[in-house]
């Protein structure tokens, strides 16, 4: 048997037309004006939603795993103590100089006075998520009715007082018992509604710096709770002040760096959504810029700044990658079809697919995250893939002499099934992310699947309509019988496992046939790459997504290095039922726990991880010291429960706001804030275990302690990343295998198909392990996405092989036909996909760039494996037989 020559490959398609899609195409063309109007109408609707309701969220919580309770605990913490994330404005210079402190004071005052109109002021992300999940917007704690204060407590101590609450003035209309701000009816229309147009307020809840940090002193028999620098110290006092401040844990790591070269202004805002938080971030940057001068440079960091900076980078990347992807697509389409008519349809398909996708996301409340960044270019790739396959067949049909209408109907009716199959498999690849524990990944999967489906719909509606306006162009069709470099390339790949004179499926002779050698090579690659995947590492460190030269990253790193950390751990202590935290033994346990936590050494860099802690202990100890004439010996806990109670009473009287930030109103709960350096999330694993051990050892059953905060959210990702990968990829693999079997209607072929589908991914994963690219939030996506894409080529290849083989029973002829029918389109779409994903390499965000490079490599590998090894598999597992038509099987 001899291989089929290239001239034979370009046979006029003879494939059966699918009656459903034939009718579909005819209907679409008949009512093209109506379909066109409908398409544009829906596009306008989705466009409106995308433009007005899109919300970007790159906060740490957006990437937290739902498998962990870190987020729930964080919300509990916020229920009790409010916003936990601070903007950290860092001023560099000689902190203990009069000029610096004057500048710091001005900066502090301007930051504290930020006032902006923010639509989402007071809005909790948790509330939005609750609404999205179909639950009531208010947290459980707030849903309870605000009842009359229980008179029981007072009744015991003061019967007379209790009796006074028994309704002698029931007619006094209070605020109602609802939990919201409603119930203010008696203020009627007279009062401005809500805040109204009043100016001069500030959206900032708290601003803490050296200027106003709490200073409790007990000089001259008077306990003073005031602000550290009210008034600003004189030049002559600065040396002594520097000595005192830099030797105090209370200040270092909170408002000043270890060396006295950095001062921090911590700015806490009210709750707001990410868009508004970004506005505050830019306002802070603007103010900072205004205050910068020689010897007083400023950087801004902190969790809200990170989210806003990532949003900014993401938007810039989104615009650039989207634009470049479209330009690349235009070039590729023009190169392939050589006529504007070959460009307009696919362009409309991908643009509308993108609009429908982002519109649907906005409509359904899905946030756009750093991961959604990949969607536009991804949809461009997928949409163009569908269009290229359809237009290629259309072009061949036109070349074969069909009129425009028939060529369109023919191309739709013969291409729709494989295009539908490829769409379904890509959707399955993306929908497998529904099983990921990170909401951002899960949402991206759902939105992507919708986008792929929408691209199919447009390919089967919008594209045929656009082609119907083409009256003359053959879209760059070549003359019959001609062959080019691509044909020659396809011929080489097709012959890779071809053995001259050996029948497909024939028994092995003495010399190992090429097809067997090719398969052995497959096995070798499989084993080698598979073995290497065990060396894959996990990694999650959002700051490293940002380029090294960006100010926000530099500030984070400087704060970690010089000040002691920008990430937080929050410990929530809940006294036993009916008790309060005014328990000396509990507080002593907290004191030991504090020391235990501070002592943790990060094994990766052999240095302390904790920069500082803040808790009720500080307040009690410093008040105790102040009450004893500032004698440092009394910087300790008192010796009785009553002593604790008195000190807290004293402090509450002097600094009630500060006490409220550290303990609940009824003193049943308190918190400890631990400031930690921001490192790779894997490093937090040991630390969280260290904390858990400390809680067990030092607190025991005296209180319930819940640990939460940014590092727990980060670590929850690491702890679940590999599980998510295995889970989503496993689901995608098995679902796609089943689909391949169903689509190809042949179990053997379906299973064979999975070899070229799986091999590129194993090779890429092995390669990642080899060169040290870790599994992170973005690379996690590669397996399933690449599987969804790789399957496309395999489906086109095997679908046409099976169609031809079923009719003719000739393996080699079927392979040749397949290469002729789909080879060019496979190479074209792979080149476009590869180019499309390479566009990501222009992204500023490193993780996106890495993702693009890896998927591009996977696409090339998938194509090469399909072209080189799929024929070897087919030649091994299929043999020539009598044509079905001859035996009556057709």
């Amino acid at each position: 048997m001899t291989p089929i020559e290239p001239s034979q490959i370009h046979a006029t398609p003879k494939e059966a037309e699918n009656p459903f899609f034939k009718a579909w195409a005819q209907v679409v063309l008949k009512w093209r004006a109506m379909f066109l109007l409908l398409t544009f109408g829906v596009t306008a609707l989705f466009g409106y939603h995308a433009a007005t309701k899109t919300r970007i969220d790159n906060s740490i919580e957006a990437f937290a795993s739902t498998n962990s309770n870190a987020q729930d605990l964080l919300e509990q913490f916020r229920d009790e103590f409010g916003q936990d994330g601070f903007f950290l404005v860092m001023a560099r210079g000689d902190v203990f100089s009069r000029g610096f402190l004057q500048d710091l004071k001005k900066l502090h005052e301007e930051l504290a006075a930020i006032d902006m109109e923010l639509p989402s002021l007071g809005e909790r992300k948790a509330d939005r998520d609750r609404v999205k999940a179909g639950k009531p917007a208010l947290p459980e704690s707030a849903k309870r009715k605000l009842k009359e204060a229980t008179p029981a407590v007072a009744a015991v101590a003061a019967p007379e007082a209790a009796s006074a609450t028994t309704g002698e003035d029931d007619d006094f209309a209070e605020f109602g018992d609802d939990e919201s701000a409603e119930g203010l009816d008696s203020f009627g229309d007279d009062a401005d509604k809500g805040w109204g147009n009043e100016t001069g307020g500030t959206i900032i809840d708290e601003t803490i710096s050296l200027i106003n940090v709490r200073e409790t002193s007990g000089k001259g028999g008077t306990l003073t709770v005031g602000e550290l620098m009210d008034p600003l110290p004189q030049a002559s006092e600065l040396a002594e002040l520097r000595e005192r401040i830099l030797n105090s844990d209370k200040y270092v790591g909170q408002v000043v760096g270890r060396k006295g070269k950095h001062a921090i202004v911590a700015v806490r805002t009210q709750f707001m959504n990410e868009d508004d938080s970004a506005k505050v971030y830019f306002e802070i940057l603007k103010i900072s810029k205004r205050h910068e001068k020689q010897g007083f440079s400023i950087g801004v960091a902190g969790p809200p700044a990170l989210g806003a900076a990532l949003n900014e980078l993401m938007l810039s990347d989104l615009k650039r990658t989207g634009l470049i992807a479209i330009l690349a697509m235009l070039c590729a389409l023009f190169f392939l079809f050589r006529h504007p008519m070959g460009v307009i349809g696919p362009l409309g398909v991908v643009l509308q697919a993108a609009v429908w996708t982002f519109g649907a996301m906005a409509w359904s409340g899905f946030n756009v995250t750093m991961l959604s960044n990949i969607l536009p270019a991804f949809l461009v790739c997928v949409g163009i893939g569908d269009s290229v396959h359809l237009q290629s067949v259309y072009r061949d049909a036109r070349k074969a002499g069909k009129n425009n209408h028939d060529a369109i109907v023919y191309s739709v009716s013969t291409t729709a099934i494989p295009v539908l199959f490829t769409t379904l498999t890509t959707m399955v690849g993306l929908l497998s992310f529904r099983f990921a524990s990170v909401t951002a990944i899960s949402d991206m999967g759902t939105a992507g699947a919708w986008g792929v489906f929408v691209a199919l719909v447009h390919s089967l509606v919008f594209l045929p309509i656009m082609l119907s306006f083409n009256k003359r162009s053959l879209l760059g069709a070549q003359g019959a019988g001609g062959s080019d470099a691509l044909d020659r390339f396809l011929d080489v790949t097709r012959r890779f496992s071809f053995d001259e004179g050996v029948e497909p499926g024939a028994p092995l002779g003495r010399k190992t046939p090429r097809r067997i050698r090719a398969l052995l090579l497959v096995v070798a690659i499989f084993v080698l790459a598979g073995g290497m995947t065990s060396m894959l590492q996990v990694f999650h460190h959002p700051i490293t997504w940002i380029p090294e030269d960006r100010a926000v990253r530099l500030t984070f790193e400087e704060l970690d290095e010089e000040v002691g950390g920008t990430a937080n751990v929050q410990l929530l202590f809940e006294a036993k039922e009916g008790r309060t935290i005014k328990d000396l033994q509990l507080l002593k346990g907290m004191e030991r726990l504090d020391a235990h936590i501070r002592s943790y050494i990060n094994p990766k860099d052999n240095s302390l991880l904790v920069g500082n802690t803040v808790s009720l202990l500080d307040v009690i100890k410093e008040t105790n010291q102040a009450l004893h004439d500032d004698d440092p010996k009394f910087y300790r806990l008192p010796e009785t429960d009553r002593g604790i109670s008195d000190l807290l009473f004293m402090f509450e009287n002097a600094g009630p706001e500060q006490l409220r930030r550290l303990a609940t109103n009824d003193l049943s709960k308190t918190q400890m804030s631990i400031r930690v350096r921001w490192v790779d999330a894997t490093s937090y694993g040991g630390f969280t275990e260290h904390i858990a051990a400390g809680i067990k050892e030092h607190i025991g059953d005296r209180a319930v302690v819940k640990a939460t905060g940014a590092i727990y959210s980060l670590f929850s990702v690491i702890a679940n990343l590999i599980g998510d990968l295995i889970h989503s990829f496993g689901v995608a693999f098995f679902a796609i295998t089943l689909m391949m079997i169903v689509m190809l209607r042949d179990v053997k072929l379906g299973l064979i198909a999975m070899v070229p589908n799986l091999l590129p991914i194993i090779v890429i994963m092995g390669g990642m392990a080899l060169i040290g690219v870790p599994i992170d939030m973005s690379t996690l996506l590669i397996g399933s996405i690449a599987l969804g894409i790789a399957v496309d080529d395999t489906i086109h290849l095997l679908h046409h092989f099976y169609a031809h083989y079923s009719l003719n029973g000739d393996v080699e002829a079927a392979i040749a036909y397949t290469f002729g029918h789909s080879g060019r389109a496979m190479v074209s779409t792979s080149v476009i996909l590869c180019g499309g994903f390479c566009v990501y390499m222009t992204a500023d965000m490193y993780n996106i760039g890495r993702f693009g490079a890896l998927v591009a490599a996977t696409v090339v590998l998938a194509l090469m494996i399909d072209l080189l090894f799929a024929p070897a598999l087919l030649r091994t597992f299929y043999k020539d037989r009598t044509p079905r038509a001859a035996t009556g099987e057709a």
């Binding site: 007072a154 939990e179 701000a181 008195d646 600094g655 009824d666």
Partner: protein, 275 residues
């Protein structure tokens, strides 16, 4: 907050509101001059001394409540007001006591002494921040300190407004200086002043920091010794659509011009020994 509510609150916390029916009668219900109205409210005879018991319940956003009962005495002196409070319940604050001197002169900080049983001595407390909350409640120290009406601009927003069926003036009060705003924490207040009692029945105040709103209602207004007194106050702090916290005050056993109240009651010695 403008002077009137603070004055009322301050006096009420001290269990003394000594407004006179005569001054109320001196003002026509059709009066439209806000300064005159507020001056009339300010000029009421507020008496010299008195006693009361107060129950204060603070409820936070998570619906957790804490109730304290305080026995209090108050006496005016030349240049200010002295007040002494003894905490009766709950048990962990029993016998704790607070003595404060509130000076009328704006520039002078208040004096406070706190007696803590575990230390068996009183300690003087100094805090310059009057916008801070009183004992963790929704009331600030500024709410309880009388203010000079000359520091405020007043405007009648509505000459006739009803609160629980009672005819009121609705008056807007704005501090004239940034210093006053900083010290009190309020940008502006609306005050509903009862025309018949010359007492505020409710207020709404704009809190500068954190853009919070504070709503106050004065209820159970009854005459004690011929003087209108609100026996109940509810203050609710709201941010956006969320309640931050609510403080309810109830006053009992009012005695006005109580002859038992003497200057010697307002000393550190009395603070440490109890009444």
């Amino acid at each position: 907050m403008n002077f009137k509510p603070q004055q009322s609150l301050g006096i009420l916390v001290g269990a003394l509101v000594l407004s006179s029916a005569a001054s109320a009668a001196a003002l026509s219900p059709t009066e439209t001059d806000a300064n005159k109205i507020m001056s009339a409210v300010e000029d009421r005879d507020t008496g010299d001394k008195g006693t009361a018991r107060m129950q204060m319940t603070i409820t936070d956003s998570a619906n957790r409540s804490r109730t304290r009962v305080v026995k209090t005495r108050l006496m005016k002196f030349k240049g200010g007001t002295k007040q002494i409070m003894f905490f009766e319940s709950p048990a962990d604050v029993r016998n704790t006591a607070l003595l404060s001197f509130d000076y009328d002169a704006g520039g002078k900080s208040d004096d406070q002494w706190l007696y803590l049983p575990s230390l068996r001595k009183s300690t003087r407390i100094s805090s310059s921040d009057k916008s801070g909350a009183f004992m963790g409640s929704d009331l600030t120290y500024a709410d309880m300190t009388s203010k000079d009406p000359k520091d405020y601009n007043y405007k009648v927003v509505k000459a006739s407004a009803k609160v629980r069926g009672e005819e009121c003036w609705l008056i807007e009060s704005k501090p004239k200086t940034k210093k006053e705003i900083r010290e009190t924490g309020y940008l502006k207040s609306l005050v509903w002043v009862s025309k018949s009692k010359l007492l505020p029945l409710q207020t709404k105040s704009w809190v500068r920091e954190g853009r919070k709103l504070k709503y106050t209602k004065f209820g159970d207004v009854r005459k004690v010794d011929g003087i209108w007194i609100a026996h109940r106050i509810v203050v609710r702090t709201v941010r956006g659509k969320s309640v931050v916290s609510t403080t309810k005050l109830r006053f009992m056993n009012y005695k006005l011009n109580d002859p038992d109240v003497k200057a010697a009651d307002f000393t550190q010695r009395r603070l440490e020994k109890g009444l």
